[in-house]
């Protein structure tokens, strides 16, 4: 168990990385009026330098600028998909666990049906229904990722609803709705919230995978997946940086977001909150 100093270090280092990333994706594009798609073949595959800190790609485009734009798209996909998947998963899981009976059976068979299809395949099916763009990718990730949250929330609710404090609430006149909102949901929020935060980087990886397969965003649009996909031929030709920097931008924010998720979990747990004197 982490002591308060380790806890604070984890919080601040993760918050710093996430803060820098958010600042970069929110502030840089409007401030720097540069076209991330501007091709300059005279500057192709330049190594990192002061002028181009991340180097340039095989069409002479500045990789730092493309990485910032790519990260913006990937974060948008990650955040929105995780939010949608968590809200849907929590609602389905809580309804199944709290209501039980045929509602539970029907909803969980629905979850089983979705789970029986490999989720990359299901994701590809969803994006194939629409024209390439950000929203089909978000829909694809959300459709394939609410299942685990629904299962986590349902099992939590099932274990909670027979606890004496829930029975005491029922005895005290609480309606089903009040039991769910006042006692069950606050108790499952740490798990649901944690699942949501951890899903953000996972969704970013999915966007990258779909884009890498050529099924995500249009190939000219900067996203971390597209950047890695476009850099494949350069990597084979011996130029590492066009793959390295988008790859690092996928890994480092992932770890920082997971770090923040851990901190959040501790804060939502009253016992841990007291131990850490937060």
């Amino acid at each position: 168990m982490a002591d308060p100093r380790t806890h604070r270090l984890r919080l601040w280092s993760s918050a710093l990385v996430v803060g820098v990333v958010l600042l970069a994706v929110l502030v840089v594009p409007p401030l720097v009026q540069l076209d991330e798609q501007a091709v300059d073949l005279s500057r192709k595959l330049l190594p990192p330098s002061w002028e181009h800190p991340f180097g340039t790609d095989d069409l002479g485009r500045d990789l730092l600028l493309r990485c910032v734009y790519g990260l913006r798209i990937s974060l948008l996909v990650g955040l929105v998909a995780a939010l949608v998947a968590t809200v849907v998963g929590t609602a389905v899981g809580a309804a199944a666990g709290a209501l039980g009976g045929w509602t539970d059976r029907t909803l969980m068979r629905l979850v089983d049906t979705f789970s029986s299809v490999p989720h990359l395949l299901l994701g590809i099916f969803v994006v194939a229904l629409f024209r390439p763009g950000v929203w089909p990718v978000i829909a694809s990730v959300a459709v394939t990722h609410w299942l685990s949250t629904a299962r986590i929330v349902r099992s939590e609710v099932l274990s909670l609803r027979t606890r004496p404090f829930v029975e005491a609430a029922i005895s005290g006149g609480a309606t089903r709705w009040r039991v769910a909102v006042r006692h069950l949901l606050p108790a499952v929020l740490p798990q649901a919230g944690l699942a949501a935060v951890l899903m953000v980087p996972h969704a970013m990886w999915h966007e990258s995978a779909l884009s890498f397969l050529g099924l995500g965003l249009p190939s000219h649009q900067a996203s971390l997946g597209n950047l890695v996909q476009n850099a494949r031929s350069s990597l084979l030709a011996g130029y590492g940086w066009p793959t390295l920097f988008p790859g690092l931008l996928l890994i480092v924010p992932t770890l920082a977001i997971a770090g923040l998720a851990g901190v959040w979990r501790d804060r939502l747990n009253p016992r841990r909150r007291s131990e850490l004197m937060l």
């Binding site: 004496p164 005491a168 006149g173 108790a187 007291s274």
Partner: protein
């Protein structure tokens, strides 16, 4: 009158915890239900508290039969029975402060406006000092938490009180304080009590009569 008439209950219909149990608690009466661990006392207490639907038999509360409900017993009957469970740690929502815990039934039944006044009555009645009211369950002792759980059970001024091994986790002085708080409440309101436990000495001193659990059923009655 709280009447259990040949009640069968359990968690699996094929193997009920007990069959054909009968027990009557008259208005204003206190009944102690004695028996060894695992005999079904707590299940009977849950049936009496309208938290567990019996598989067979009749449960009558003040002349109203409340045996057949679908998801849970009607609210006005549930709130007529206050329940105190054995383990305060699991019976208290860990996210609520003791003050919230005490008045939660008032908020749940739409009587939010009365909450502050009732809290001011309840806290001293169960022996909770003001400094404890802002604390959460993990910040207080078992005894203090059980006092809050008793306060919650009394919040809606129930006509019936079911105490399922309320003092099993507590020391002698806290036990005495809780029993005194229950008795004071009963003197003020004329409420009935069903106290379940295996502390023979305590229940015989506390209750008007005790019922011994024998051969899988509450049987022998002692004045």
């Amino acid at each position: 009158m709280l009447e259990l008439d040949t009640v069968t209950a359990g968690y699996d219909r094929r193997t009920p915890v007990f069959r054909g149990a009968s027990l009557t608690v008259a208005p204003g009466e206190s009944v102690g239900l004695l028996g060894p661990s695992g005999c079904g006392k707590s299940t009977l207490a849950r049936v009496a508290a309208l938290l567990h639907r019996p598989d067979a038999g009749r449960l009558v509360l003040d002349g109203t039969e409340v045996t057949a409900w679908r998801h849970r017993a009607p609210r006005e009957l549930r709130t007529a029975v206050g329940v105190v469970f054995q383990q305060p740690r699991t019976a208290a929502d860990p996210r609520l402060t003791l003050a919230d815990l005490l008045v939660e039934p008032l908020r749940a039944t739409g009587r939010r406006a009365e909450a502050a006044a009732r809290l001011a009555e309840l806290a001293p009645a169960v022996g909770l000092t003001p400094d404890l009211l802002g604390r959460r369950p993990h910040e207080v002792s078992d005894g203090q938490l059980q006092r809050a759980c008793l306060g919650r059970a009394l919040a809606l001024r129930p006509r019936w009180l079911v105490c399922d091994e309320m003092t099993a986790m507590l020391d002698a002085s806290t036990t005495a304080a809780l029993v005194a708080a229950v008795e004071t409440y009963r003197e003020e309101t004329g409420a009935s009590l069903l106290a379940v436990g295996h502390d023979r000495l305590l229940l015989r001193r506390w209750c008007d009569r005790t019922v011994e659990w024998q051969d899988c059923l509450p049987a022998e009655e002692r004045p």
